[in-house]
């Protein structure tokens, strides 16, 4: 009687990969992130009656995960050094040798962002949520999310020292847009 529709557990499973990615961006540690995802699924299952059918299951799970992390984070805040770059170490596989350094730089910079900026940026820029959905997940106004995303981008650019690219002028910008940002030309 307490076993819900199997499509519910399927929907939950479908959300697991992105929940993990979000959790890792919050925790900076794969093992803790997986524990967080597990706790999220348990909480969600125990509170399925509060899920409104027809609404976004993924957003609901993200909300639970974020709240769990927040309450846990407050407890352990004193013991864990925040933003020490450990996020960079959590992902072993590198896309390409050539861009390896660049990505490590990026991940280190991402880990240094303030908590609310990082989660806003990840939700909107990677998880594919709208500003409205991200605001719902974070429990704040849409304008706040927009502001955090903007500040996150600005701060990342500063940390990665790539604002100096401005000096190259519009030609280079145009080329980047046309090539999609990552073309290799010989």
């Amino acid at each position: 009687m307490s076993s819900p529709n199997p499509s519910v557990s399927e929907a939950m499973l479908r959300s697991v990969p992105s929940l993990r990615a979000f959790a890792i961006s919050l925790c900076g540690n794969v093992d803790r992130a997986d524990d967080l995802v597990q706790e999220t699924l348990l909480r969600a299952w125990a509170n399925l009656n509060s899920f409104e059918p027809g609404t976004n299951m993924s957003a609901w799970l993200f909300t639970i995960l974020r709240n769990l992390f927040r309450s846990e984070y407050r407890k352990r805040r004193r013991e864990v050094a925040d933003g020490d770059g450990s996020y960079a170490e959590t992902l072993k596989t590198q896309p390409e040798q050539a861009s390896r350094v660049e990505f490590e730089e990026f991940r280190t910079a991402l880990a240094k962002l303030p908590q609310d900026q990082r989660e806003a940026l990840v939700l909107v820029g990677a998880s594919g949520f709208s500003y409205e959905e991200a605001a719902g997940i974070c429990g704040c106004a849409v304008g706040t999310i927009k502001s955090r995303v903007n500040r996150a981008r600005t701060r990342l650019a500063e940390l990665m020292s790539i604002e100096s690219i401005d000096d190259f002028g519009p030609d280079r910008e145009l080329k980047a847009v046309l090539s999609g940002g990552g073309g290799s030309n010989g």
Binding site: S2, S3, P6, S9, L13, V16, P17, S18, R20, A21, I24, S25, R32, D35, L36, Q38, E39, L41, L42, R43, W45, A46, L68, F69, E72, L91, T93, P95, E102, F103, F106, R107, L110, L121, V122, G125, A126, S127, A141, G143, T144, K146, S147, N150, R151, R153, T154, L156, A157, E158, M160, I162, E163, I165, D166, R172, E173, A176, V177, G181
Partner: protein
């Protein structure tokens, strides 16, 4: 005439958003290439995890949730974040 006491002030829900205007002398908006670069690196980093798929432990967890009671499953799996289990650890500071 009670409609003069509007609660909107500097503490309204949008107050946080208003602080977005940076007092820095830097350019307030990033150029297009920088935005593309940050966006693509963010997505690649994120998708590396997404592409790992669903680890087996979660398949098993949901299978157990479907077949057993939540209490049994939650009791067996109490990770670091488990809030159900009470463990008074405060032995004073």
């Amino acid at each position: 005439m009670n409609d003069h006491n509007k609660p909107t002030g500097p503490k309204g829900p949008m107050a946080g958003a208003m602080q977005g205007a940076t007092p820095h002398k830097r350019k307030s908006s990033l150029n297009r290439e920088t935005q593309i670069k940050i966006g693509s690196q963010l997505q690649i980093t994120y998708n590396e995890v997404v592409n790992q798929g669903v680890p087996d432990r979660f398949v098993q967890l949901l299978h157990r949730l479907e077949t057993e009671s939540i209490e049994d499953v939650a009791g067996a799996h109490s990770g670091e974040f488990a809030g159900a289990k009470e463990s008074p650890d405060d032995k004073g500071s």
